[in-house]
Protein backbone atom coordinates (compact mmCIF):
# COMPACT_ATOMS: atom_id res chain seq x y z
CA UNK A 1 0.00 0.00 0.00
CA UNK A 2 1.06 3.54 -0.59
CA UNK A 3 2.04 6.11 2.04
CA UNK A 4 0.14 9.31 2.96
CA UNK A 5 1.87 11.47 0.33
CA UNK A 6 0.47 9.31 -2.39
CA UNK A 7 -3.03 9.13 -0.98
CA UNK A 8 -5.54 9.78 -3.72
CA UNK A 9 -9.21 10.51 -3.51
CA UNK A 10 -11.18 7.30 -3.27
CA UNK A 11 -8.25 5.26 -2.07
CA UNK A 12 -8.52 3.61 1.29
CA UNK A 13 -5.58 4.91 3.34
CA UNK A 14 -3.74 2.41 5.44
CA UNK A 15 -5.15 2.30 8.95
CA UNK A 16 -2.69 4.00 11.25
CA UNK A 17 -0.72 5.84 8.50
CA UNK A 18 -2.70 9.08 9.19
CA UNK A 19 -3.23 8.52 12.91
CA UNK A 20 -6.62 7.86 14.59
CA UNK A 21 -9.80 8.19 12.43
CA UNK A 22 -10.99 11.46 14.11
CA UNK A 23 -7.66 13.18 13.61
CA UNK A 24 -7.53 11.88 10.06
CA UNK A 25 -10.92 13.50 9.39
CA UNK A 26 -9.72 16.83 10.78
CA UNK A 27 -6.58 16.77 8.69
CA UNK A 28 -8.56 15.96 5.56
CA UNK A 29 -11.01 18.74 6.33
CA UNK A 30 -8.16 21.18 6.96
CA UNK A 31 -6.63 20.24 3.63
CA UNK A 32 -9.98 20.72 1.94
CA UNK A 33 -10.51 24.20 3.44
CA UNK A 34 -6.96 25.21 2.61
CA UNK A 35 -7.48 24.25 -1.01
CA UNK A 36 -10.81 26.09 -1.53
CA UNK A 37 -10.12 28.94 -3.92
CA UNK A 38 -13.51 30.56 -4.39
CA UNK A 39 -14.18 31.27 -0.72
CA UNK A 40 -12.05 32.96 1.87
CA UNK A 41 -12.42 30.68 4.90
CA UNK A 42 -10.57 31.53 8.08
CA UNK A 43 -10.83 31.67 11.83
CA UNK A 44 -10.81 34.77 14.00
CA UNK A 45 -9.96 34.97 17.67
CA UNK A 46 -12.67 36.56 19.81
CA UNK A 47 -10.64 39.80 19.82
CA UNK A 48 -10.66 39.86 16.00
CA UNK A 49 -7.14 38.59 15.26
CA UNK A 50 -6.80 36.34 12.20
CA UNK A 51 -5.91 32.77 13.28
CA UNK A 52 -5.95 30.78 10.02
CA UNK A 53 -5.89 31.57 6.30
CA UNK A 54 -6.75 29.61 3.17
CA UNK A 55 -6.00 29.84 -0.55
CA UNK A 56 -9.33 31.50 -1.24
CA UNK A 57 -8.61 34.17 1.36
CA UNK A 58 -5.25 34.84 -0.24
CA UNK A 59 -6.79 35.02 -3.69
CA UNK A 60 -9.68 37.29 -2.69
CA UNK A 61 -7.95 39.57 -0.18
CA UNK A 62 -4.39 39.54 -1.50
CA UNK A 63 -2.61 38.75 1.78
CA UNK A 64 -0.46 35.64 2.24
CA UNK A 65 -0.93 33.68 5.47
CA UNK A 66 2.37 35.07 6.83
CA UNK A 67 1.29 38.64 6.23
CA UNK A 68 -2.11 38.46 7.88
CA UNK A 69 -2.13 35.82 10.61
CA UNK A 70 -2.01 37.59 13.95
CA UNK A 71 -3.28 40.89 12.52
CA UNK A 72 -6.72 42.31 13.27
CA UNK A 73 -9.40 41.56 10.66
CA UNK A 74 -10.47 45.22 10.58
CA UNK A 75 -7.74 45.50 7.91
CA UNK A 76 -10.38 44.12 5.49
CA UNK A 77 -12.74 47.03 6.12
CA UNK A 78 -12.95 50.57 4.74
CA UNK A 79 -11.91 53.46 6.95
CA UNK A 80 -15.54 54.52 7.35
CA UNK A 81 -16.56 51.03 8.42
CA UNK A 82 -13.67 50.96 10.89
CA UNK A 83 -14.68 54.36 12.29
CA UNK A 84 -18.15 52.95 12.69
CA UNK A 85 -16.64 49.97 14.59
CA UNK A 86 -18.43 47.70 12.15
CA UNK A 87 -15.91 44.79 12.31
CA UNK A 88 -16.26 44.25 16.07
CA UNK A 89 -20.00 44.94 16.03
CA UNK A 90 -20.30 42.17 13.43
CA UNK A 91 -18.56 39.75 15.78
CA UNK A 92 -20.88 40.92 18.55
CA UNK A 93 -23.95 40.13 16.44
CA UNK A 94 -22.52 36.74 15.52
CA UNK A 95 -21.85 35.98 19.19
CA UNK A 96 -25.41 37.00 20.03
CA UNK A 97 -27.22 35.15 17.23
CA UNK A 98 -24.74 32.34 16.57
CA UNK A 99 -24.37 33.40 12.95
CA UNK A 100 -24.41 36.64 11.07
CA UNK A 101 -24.54 37.35 7.34
CA UNK A 102 -23.44 40.65 5.87
CA UNK A 103 -22.97 42.09 2.42
CA UNK A 104 -20.88 45.14 1.64
CA UNK A 105 -17.66 46.66 0.44
CA UNK A 106 -14.38 45.20 1.72
CA UNK A 107 -10.80 46.23 1.06
CA UNK A 108 -8.02 44.12 -0.51
CA UNK A 109 -4.37 44.36 0.48
CA UNK A 110 -3.71 46.67 -2.48
CA UNK A 111 -6.45 49.02 -1.25
CA UNK A 112 -8.91 48.11 -4.03
CA UNK A 113 -12.46 47.36 -3.00
CA UNK A 114 -14.60 44.31 -3.66
CA UNK A 115 -18.25 43.53 -2.91
CA UNK A 116 -18.32 40.77 -0.34
CA UNK A 117 -20.84 38.37 1.07
CA UNK A 118 -19.68 37.47 4.57
CA UNK A 119 -20.96 34.81 6.93
CA UNK A 120 -19.56 34.85 10.46
CA UNK A 121 -20.32 31.87 12.68
CA UNK A 122 -19.51 31.85 16.38
CA UNK A 123 -17.71 28.72 17.55
CA UNK A 124 -18.83 28.16 21.12
CA UNK A 125 -17.77 25.91 23.99
CA UNK A 126 -20.13 23.69 25.94
CA UNK A 127 -21.28 26.69 28.00
CA UNK A 128 -22.19 28.56 24.78
CA UNK A 129 -19.32 31.04 25.10
CA UNK A 130 -17.57 31.84 21.79
CA UNK A 131 -13.92 30.83 21.66
CA UNK A 132 -13.45 31.79 18.00
CA UNK A 133 -15.33 32.90 14.89
CA UNK A 134 -15.37 31.17 11.49
CA UNK A 135 -15.57 33.65 8.66
CA UNK A 136 -16.52 32.70 5.11
CA UNK A 137 -16.23 35.45 2.51
CA UNK A 138 -17.26 35.38 -1.13
CA UNK A 139 -16.26 37.99 -3.71
CA UNK A 140 -19.52 39.02 -5.38
CA UNK A 141 -18.09 41.98 -7.27
CA UNK A 142 -18.72 40.42 -10.67
CA UNK A 143 -22.21 39.32 -9.75
CA UNK A 144 -22.91 42.75 -8.35
CA UNK A 145 -21.60 44.42 -11.48
CA UNK A 146 -23.75 42.12 -13.62
CA UNK A 147 -26.74 42.97 -11.45
CA UNK A 148 -25.97 46.66 -11.72
CA UNK A 149 -25.72 46.32 -15.46
CA UNK A 150 -29.02 44.49 -15.53
CA UNK A 151 -30.58 47.19 -13.40
CA UNK A 152 -29.21 49.96 -15.60
CA UNK A 153 -30.54 48.11 -18.63
CA UNK A 154 -33.96 47.78 -17.03
CA UNK A 155 -33.97 51.45 -16.09
CA UNK A 156 -33.03 52.36 -19.64
CA UNK A 157 -35.75 50.14 -21.04
CA UNK A 158 -38.28 51.61 -18.66
CA UNK A 159 -37.19 55.13 -19.59
CA UNK A 160 -37.47 54.26 -23.26
CA UNK A 161 -40.98 52.87 -23.00
CA UNK A 162 -41.98 55.84 -20.85
CA UNK A 163 -40.63 58.14 -23.57
CA UNK A 164 -42.50 56.21 -26.25
CA UNK A 165 -45.69 56.33 -24.18
CA UNK A 166 -45.18 60.08 -23.70
CA UNK A 167 -44.84 60.53 -27.46
CA UNK A 168 -48.05 58.60 -28.07
CA UNK A 169 -49.79 60.62 -25.36
CA UNK A 170 -48.54 63.83 -26.96
CA UNK A 171 -49.89 62.80 -30.36
CA UNK A 172 -53.22 61.87 -28.80
CA UNK A 173 -53.17 65.15 -26.93
CA UNK A 174 -52.48 67.22 -30.03
CA UNK A 175 -55.12 65.37 -32.01
CA UNK A 176 -57.82 65.90 -29.39
CA UNK A 177 -56.73 69.44 -28.65
CA UNK A 178 -56.80 70.49 -32.30
CA UNK A 179 -60.16 68.78 -32.74
CA UNK A 180 -61.65 70.67 -29.82
CA UNK A 181 -60.14 73.99 -30.86
CA UNK A 182 -61.56 73.79 -34.38
CA UNK A 183 -65.22 74.15 -33.40
CA UNK A 184 -64.95 77.60 -31.78
CA UNK A 185 -62.57 78.65 -34.57
CA UNK A 186 -65.22 77.59 -37.10
CA UNK A 187 -67.79 79.68 -35.20
CA UNK A 188 -65.52 82.74 -35.12
CA UNK A 189 -64.77 82.51 -38.82
CA UNK A 190 -68.39 82.03 -39.80
CA UNK A 191 -69.74 84.81 -37.56
CA UNK A 192 -67.17 87.32 -38.79
CA UNK A 193 -67.89 86.51 -42.43
CA UNK A 194 -71.62 86.50 -41.83
CA UNK A 195 -71.54 89.96 -40.23
CA UNK A 196 -69.44 91.41 -43.01
CA UNK A 197 -71.68 89.82 -45.63
CA UNK A 198 -74.77 91.24 -43.93
CA UNK A 199 -73.12 94.67 -43.98
CA UNK A 200 -72.30 94.35 -47.69
CA UNK A 201 -75.91 93.40 -48.35
CA UNK A 202 -77.15 96.33 -46.27
CA UNK A 203 -78.80 93.95 -43.80
CA UNK A 204 -76.62 94.71 -40.79
CA UNK A 205 -78.84 96.35 -38.19
CA UNK A 206 -77.96 96.78 -34.50
CA UNK A 207 -79.80 93.64 -33.46
CA UNK A 208 -77.88 91.49 -35.90
CA UNK A 209 -74.59 93.09 -34.93
CA UNK A 210 -75.34 92.43 -31.24
CA UNK A 211 -76.08 88.78 -31.92
CA UNK A 212 -72.87 88.45 -33.94
CA UNK A 213 -70.78 90.07 -31.24
CA UNK A 214 -72.35 87.89 -28.56
CA UNK A 215 -71.49 84.79 -30.60
CA UNK A 216 -67.93 85.97 -31.07
CA UNK A 217 -67.69 86.50 -27.31
CA UNK A 218 -69.01 82.99 -26.62
CA UNK A 219 -66.65 81.31 -29.06
CA UNK A 220 -63.73 83.35 -27.72
CA UNK A 221 -64.54 82.32 -24.14
CA UNK A 222 -64.69 78.71 -25.29
CA UNK A 223 -61.27 79.03 -26.95
CA UNK A 224 -59.90 80.71 -23.84
CA UNK A 225 -61.17 77.92 -21.60
CA UNK A 226 -59.60 75.29 -23.85
CA UNK A 227 -56.30 77.14 -23.88
CA UNK A 228 -56.39 77.46 -20.08
CA UNK A 229 -56.81 73.72 -19.84
CA UNK A 230 -53.88 73.16 -22.19
CA UNK A 231 -51.73 75.59 -20.21
CA UNK A 232 -52.66 73.90 -16.93
CA UNK A 233 -51.31 70.64 -18.29
CA UNK A 234 -48.11 72.12 -19.66
CA UNK A 235 -47.59 74.06 -16.44
CA UNK A 236 -47.87 70.81 -14.52
CA UNK A 237 -45.45 69.09 -16.87
CA UNK A 238 -42.90 71.89 -17.15
CA UNK A 239 -43.39 72.86 -13.50
CA UNK A 240 -41.57 76.17 -13.57
CA UNK A 241 -42.91 77.61 -10.32
CA UNK A 242 -41.97 75.79 -7.11
CA UNK A 243 -44.72 74.19 -5.03
CA UNK A 244 -45.51 75.94 -1.78
CA UNK A 245 -45.90 74.04 1.47
CA UNK A 246 -47.99 76.26 3.68
CA UNK A 247 -51.09 75.89 5.87
CA UNK A 248 -54.18 75.91 3.65
CA UNK A 249 -57.70 76.02 5.09
CA UNK A 250 -59.58 73.73 2.71
CA UNK A 251 -62.93 75.04 3.98
CA UNK A 252 -62.11 78.65 3.13
CA UNK A 253 -60.57 77.60 -0.18
CA UNK A 254 -63.62 75.53 -1.14
CA UNK A 255 -65.93 78.40 -0.18
CA UNK A 256 -63.97 80.68 -2.53
CA UNK A 257 -64.25 78.21 -5.38
CA UNK A 258 -67.99 77.76 -4.76
CA UNK A 259 -68.48 81.53 -4.71
CA UNK A 260 -66.67 81.82 -8.04
CA UNK A 261 -68.89 79.21 -9.69
CA UNK A 262 -72.05 80.63 -8.11
CA UNK A 263 -71.22 84.05 -9.52
CA UNK A 264 -70.66 82.39 -12.88
CA UNK A 265 -74.32 81.44 -13.28
CA UNK A 266 -74.71 78.43 -11.02
CA UNK A 267 -76.43 80.32 -8.21
CA UNK A 268 -77.89 77.98 -5.62
CA UNK A 269 -76.78 74.73 -7.27
CA UNK A 270 -73.75 74.11 -5.08
CA UNK A 271 -74.27 73.16 -1.44
CA UNK A 272 -71.34 73.14 0.96
CA UNK A 273 -71.36 71.26 4.27
CA UNK A 274 -68.16 71.88 6.23
CA UNK A 275 -66.68 72.49 9.68
CA UNK A 276 -65.36 75.97 10.55
CA UNK A 277 -61.89 75.12 9.28
CA UNK A 278 -59.89 72.14 8.05
CA UNK A 279 -56.23 72.90 7.54
CA UNK A 280 -53.74 70.92 5.47
CA UNK A 281 -50.19 71.68 4.41
CA UNK A 282 -49.85 72.32 0.70
CA UNK A 283 -49.90 74.66 -2.26
CA UNK A 284 -53.04 76.80 -2.10
CA UNK A 285 -53.20 77.74 -5.77
CA UNK A 286 -52.76 74.13 -6.89
CA UNK A 287 -55.33 72.86 -4.40
CA UNK A 288 -57.66 75.60 -5.67
CA UNK A 289 -57.17 74.12 -9.13
CA UNK A 290 -58.13 70.65 -7.86
CA UNK A 291 -61.35 71.94 -6.29
CA UNK A 292 -62.12 74.09 -9.33
CA UNK A 293 -61.72 71.10 -11.65
CA UNK A 294 -63.88 68.85 -9.46
CA UNK A 295 -66.68 71.41 -9.16
CA UNK A 296 -66.45 72.27 -12.86
CA UNK A 297 -66.63 68.56 -13.65
CA UNK A 298 -69.69 68.05 -11.43
CA UNK A 299 -71.50 71.02 -12.99
CA UNK A 300 -70.55 70.02 -16.53
CA UNK A 301 -71.76 66.45 -16.16
CA UNK A 302 -75.07 67.23 -14.50
CA UNK A 303 -77.93 69.39 -15.68
CA UNK A 304 -79.35 72.40 -13.85
CA UNK A 305 -81.12 72.62 -11.50
CA UNK A 306 -79.82 69.36 -9.97
CA UNK A 307 -77.63 70.15 -6.93
CA UNK A 308 -73.90 69.55 -6.48
CA UNK A 309 -73.12 68.65 -2.87
CA UNK A 310 -69.71 69.28 -1.35
CA UNK A 311 -68.89 67.84 2.04
CA UNK A 312 -65.68 68.50 3.97
CA UNK A 313 -64.61 66.49 6.99
CA UNK A 314 -61.44 65.76 8.94
CA UNK A 315 -60.49 62.11 8.48
CA UNK A 316 -57.51 59.86 8.96
CA UNK A 317 -54.94 62.58 9.84
CA UNK A 318 -56.13 64.65 6.91
CA UNK A 319 -59.03 66.37 5.23
CA UNK A 320 -61.56 64.59 3.03
CA UNK A 321 -63.69 66.43 0.50
CA UNK A 322 -66.44 64.77 -1.50
CA UNK A 323 -68.15 66.32 -4.50
CA UNK A 324 -71.42 64.66 -5.46
CA UNK A 325 -73.40 65.35 -8.62
CA UNK A 326 -76.59 63.91 -10.07
CA UNK A 327 -75.45 63.72 -13.66
CA UNK A 328 -74.46 61.07 -16.15
CA UNK A 329 -72.78 58.93 -13.48
CA UNK A 330 -69.91 56.54 -13.96
CA UNK A 331 -69.50 52.94 -14.97
CA UNK A 332 -66.62 50.93 -13.51
CA UNK A 333 -64.48 50.99 -16.64
CA UNK A 334 -64.75 54.75 -16.83
CA UNK A 335 -63.97 55.23 -13.13
CA UNK A 336 -60.70 53.32 -13.56
CA UNK A 337 -59.52 55.39 -16.55
CA UNK A 338 -60.90 58.71 -15.43
CA UNK A 339 -57.68 60.17 -14.07
CA UNK A 340 -55.55 59.39 -17.11
CA UNK A 341 -54.98 62.21 -19.58
CA UNK A 342 -58.02 62.25 -21.89
CA UNK A 343 -59.45 59.36 -19.89
CA UNK A 344 -62.98 60.75 -19.65
CA UNK A 345 -65.89 58.35 -19.26
CA UNK A 346 -67.12 56.27 -22.17
CA UNK A 347 -70.47 58.04 -21.94
CA UNK A 348 -68.94 61.50 -22.17
CA UNK A 349 -67.47 61.84 -25.65
CA UNK A 350 -69.63 64.79 -26.48
CA UNK A 351 -68.91 66.82 -23.36
CA UNK A 352 -66.98 69.91 -24.36
CA UNK A 353 -63.44 70.24 -23.10
CA UNK A 354 -60.25 68.30 -23.36
CA UNK A 355 -60.97 65.86 -20.57
CA UNK A 356 -57.84 66.93 -18.71
CA UNK A 357 -59.36 68.43 -15.57
CA UNK A 358 -59.47 65.21 -13.57
CA UNK A 359 -56.03 64.19 -14.78
CA UNK A 360 -54.63 67.49 -13.51
CA UNK A 361 -56.50 67.08 -10.20
CA UNK A 362 -55.05 63.58 -9.80
CA UNK A 363 -51.49 64.81 -10.44
CA UNK A 364 -51.80 67.61 -7.90
CA UNK A 365 -53.45 65.48 -5.20
CA UNK A 366 -50.84 62.75 -5.62
CA UNK A 367 -48.02 65.26 -5.27
CA UNK A 368 -49.56 66.38 -1.98
CA UNK A 369 -49.33 62.79 -0.75
CA UNK A 370 -53.12 62.50 -0.98
CA UNK A 371 -55.67 60.29 -2.70
CA UNK A 372 -58.41 60.88 -5.24
CA UNK A 373 -61.14 58.44 -6.21
CA UNK A 374 -64.33 58.36 -8.20
CA UNK A 375 -67.41 56.21 -8.13
CA UNK A 376 -71.10 56.08 -8.90
CA UNK A 377 -73.98 56.70 -6.52
CA UNK A 378 -75.21 53.11 -6.56
CA UNK A 379 -78.71 52.92 -7.98
CA UNK A 380 -79.02 56.72 -7.98
CA UNK A 381 -77.89 58.74 -10.99
CA UNK A 382 -74.71 60.74 -10.58
CA UNK A 383 -71.10 60.48 -9.51
CA UNK A 384 -69.04 60.94 -6.33
CA UNK A 385 -65.51 62.31 -6.38
CA UNK A 386 -63.47 62.16 -3.18
CA UNK A 387 -60.11 63.63 -2.38
CA UNK A 388 -58.11 63.22 0.79
CA UNK A 389 -55.15 65.46 1.59
CA UNK A 390 -52.89 64.62 4.55
CA UNK A 391 -52.75 67.27 7.26
CA UNK A 392 -48.99 67.35 6.96
CA UNK A 393 -47.89 66.00 3.61
CA UNK A 394 -44.43 67.55 3.93
CA UNK A 395 -43.12 69.45 0.96
CA UNK A 396 -45.01 68.44 -2.17
CA UNK A 397 -42.51 67.13 -4.56
Amino acid sequence: MSGPQETTVGAQPDAGALGPPLLRGEVAFRLLVDAVEDYAIFLLATDGRVLTWNLGAQRIKGYTADEIIGRHFSAFYTADQRDDDRPMRLLGWAAEHGRFEDEGWRVRKDGSRFWANVIVTALTDEAGVPYAFAKVTRDLTERREAEEQQRTLQLEQRARSAAEEALLARDRFLSIASHELKTPVASLQLVAESVSRARDAGRLDDARLDVGLARIATATRRLGALLDELLDVSRLTADVTPWASEPVDMVALTAEVVARFSAGGNEGRIHLAAPDAAVVSGDASRLDQVLTNLVDNALKYSAPPTPVDIEISEADEGVEISVVDRGLGLDETSAARLFEAFGRGTNAEHIQGLGLGLHIAHQIVTRHGGRIEAGGRGAEPGAVFKIWIPRDGGTPG
Binding site: H179, T183, P184, A186, S187, Q189, L190, E193, H350, I351
Partner: protein, 125 residues
Protein backbone atom coordinates in the same frame (compact mmCIF):
# COMPACT_ATOMS: atom_id res chain seq x y z
CA UNK B 1 -80.97 79.58 -63.35
CA UNK B 2 -82.21 80.32 -59.89
CA UNK B 3 -81.23 78.52 -56.79
CA UNK B 4 -84.00 76.58 -55.21
CA UNK B 5 -85.06 77.52 -51.74
CA UNK B 6 -84.62 74.43 -49.61
CA UNK B 7 -85.51 73.13 -46.15
CA UNK B 8 -82.32 72.45 -44.23
CA UNK B 9 -81.90 70.81 -40.82
CA UNK B 10 -78.66 71.79 -39.02
CA UNK B 11 -77.70 69.15 -36.41
CA UNK B 12 -74.78 70.47 -34.34
CA UNK B 13 -74.21 70.40 -30.57
CA UNK B 14 -72.17 73.60 -30.37
CA UNK B 15 -74.84 76.25 -29.90
CA UNK B 16 -72.88 79.15 -31.37
CA UNK B 17 -71.96 77.23 -34.48
CA UNK B 18 -75.48 75.87 -34.89
CA UNK B 19 -77.08 79.30 -34.62
CA UNK B 20 -74.55 80.89 -36.96
CA UNK B 21 -75.02 78.17 -39.58
CA UNK B 22 -78.80 78.56 -39.26
CA UNK B 23 -78.44 82.29 -39.79
CA UNK B 24 -76.10 82.22 -42.77
CA UNK B 25 -78.14 79.56 -44.56
CA UNK B 26 -81.25 81.56 -43.73
CA UNK B 27 -79.61 84.58 -45.37
CA UNK B 28 -79.37 82.46 -48.52
CA UNK B 29 -83.14 82.21 -48.45
CA UNK B 30 -83.37 78.67 -47.10
CA UNK B 31 -85.79 77.56 -44.45
CA UNK B 32 -83.51 76.32 -41.67
CA UNK B 33 -84.11 74.56 -38.37
CA UNK B 34 -81.57 73.48 -35.76
CA UNK B 35 -81.14 70.46 -33.50
CA UNK B 36 -78.54 69.92 -30.77
CA UNK B 37 -78.18 66.17 -31.30
CA UNK B 38 -79.52 63.20 -33.25
CA UNK B 39 -82.47 62.63 -31.00
CA UNK B 40 -83.65 66.22 -31.34
CA UNK B 41 -83.09 65.96 -35.11
CA UNK B 42 -85.47 62.96 -35.27
CA UNK B 43 -88.04 64.98 -33.34
CA UNK B 44 -87.76 67.83 -35.87
CA UNK B 45 -88.20 65.36 -38.72
CA UNK B 46 -91.39 64.08 -37.12
CA UNK B 47 -93.13 67.33 -37.82
CA UNK B 48 -91.14 68.79 -40.66
CA UNK B 49 -89.44 67.32 -43.70
CA UNK B 50 -85.97 68.46 -44.82
CA UNK B 51 -84.28 68.47 -48.23
CA UNK B 52 -80.84 68.44 -46.66
CA UNK B 53 -79.42 67.52 -43.29
CA UNK B 54 -76.17 69.20 -42.16
CA UNK B 55 -74.87 66.74 -39.58
CA UNK B 56 -72.12 67.02 -36.96
CA UNK B 57 -70.33 63.73 -36.24
CA UNK B 58 -70.02 63.69 -32.46
CA UNK B 59 -72.95 64.87 -30.40
CA UNK B 60 -74.52 64.15 -27.04
CA UNK B 61 -77.37 61.67 -26.66
CA UNK B 62 -77.29 60.52 -30.27
CA UNK B 63 -74.33 60.81 -32.62
CA UNK B 64 -74.31 60.89 -36.41
CA UNK B 65 -74.02 57.09 -36.82
CA UNK B 66 -77.00 56.30 -34.60
CA UNK B 67 -78.99 59.10 -36.20
CA UNK B 68 -78.34 57.67 -39.69
CA UNK B 69 -79.63 54.25 -38.57
CA UNK B 70 -82.89 55.82 -37.48
CA UNK B 71 -83.07 58.11 -40.49
CA UNK B 72 -82.81 55.18 -42.91
CA UNK B 73 -85.89 53.59 -41.37
CA UNK B 74 -88.04 56.64 -41.91
CA UNK B 75 -89.87 56.52 -45.23
CA UNK B 76 -90.16 60.31 -45.45
CA UNK B 77 -86.50 60.99 -44.54
CA UNK B 78 -84.62 57.91 -45.75
CA UNK B 79 -83.38 59.55 -48.95
CA UNK B 80 -82.77 63.03 -47.57
CA UNK B 81 -79.30 64.22 -48.49
CA UNK B 82 -76.72 64.52 -45.76
CA UNK B 83 -73.62 66.70 -45.42
CA UNK B 84 -71.30 65.77 -42.54
CA UNK B 85 -69.42 68.42 -40.53
CA UNK B 86 -66.50 67.55 -38.32
CA UNK B 87 -63.10 68.56 -37.03
CA UNK B 88 -62.08 64.91 -36.91
CA UNK B 89 -59.05 63.98 -39.01
CA UNK B 90 -60.84 60.89 -40.29
CA UNK B 91 -63.85 62.84 -41.53
CA UNK B 92 -63.64 61.49 -45.10
CA UNK B 93 -63.80 57.86 -44.03
CA UNK B 94 -66.46 58.63 -41.44
CA UNK B 95 -68.57 60.34 -44.12
CA UNK B 96 -68.05 57.33 -46.32
CA UNK B 97 -69.19 54.93 -43.62
CA UNK B 98 -72.21 57.13 -42.97
CA UNK B 99 -73.10 57.07 -46.66
CA UNK B 100 -73.13 60.88 -46.62
CA UNK B 101 -73.44 62.88 -49.84
CA UNK B 102 -70.74 65.38 -48.88
CA UNK B 103 -68.54 66.44 -46.00
CA UNK B 104 -66.98 69.65 -44.77
CA UNK B 105 -64.01 69.79 -42.39
CA UNK B 106 -64.07 72.31 -39.52
CA UNK B 107 -63.11 75.07 -39.53
CA UNK B 108 -64.70 76.23 -42.78
CA UNK B 109 -65.49 79.61 -44.28
CA UNK B 110 -68.84 80.95 -45.32
CA UNK B 111 -68.28 80.37 -49.04
CA UNK B 112 -67.43 76.68 -48.36
CA UNK B 113 -70.73 76.21 -46.56
CA UNK B 114 -72.86 78.03 -49.10
CA UNK B 115 -71.23 76.35 -52.10
CA UNK B 116 -71.34 72.85 -50.60
CA UNK B 117 -75.00 73.25 -49.75
CA UNK B 118 -75.82 74.66 -53.19
CA UNK B 119 -74.13 71.71 -54.89
CA UNK B 120 -76.30 69.24 -53.00
CA UNK B 121 -79.58 70.94 -53.84
CA UNK B 122 -81.36 70.29 -57.12
CA UNK B 123 -81.50 73.34 -59.35
CA UNK B 124 -84.74 74.53 -60.82
CA UNK B 125 -84.97 76.30 -64.12
Amino acid sequence: MTRRVARILVVEDDETLRETLTEVLGDEGHEVRGAAHGYEALERLDEWSADLIVLDLMMPRMDAFEFREHQRHRPDAATTKVMVLSAAREIASAADRLGADAWLAKPFNLADVIDSVAELLPRSA
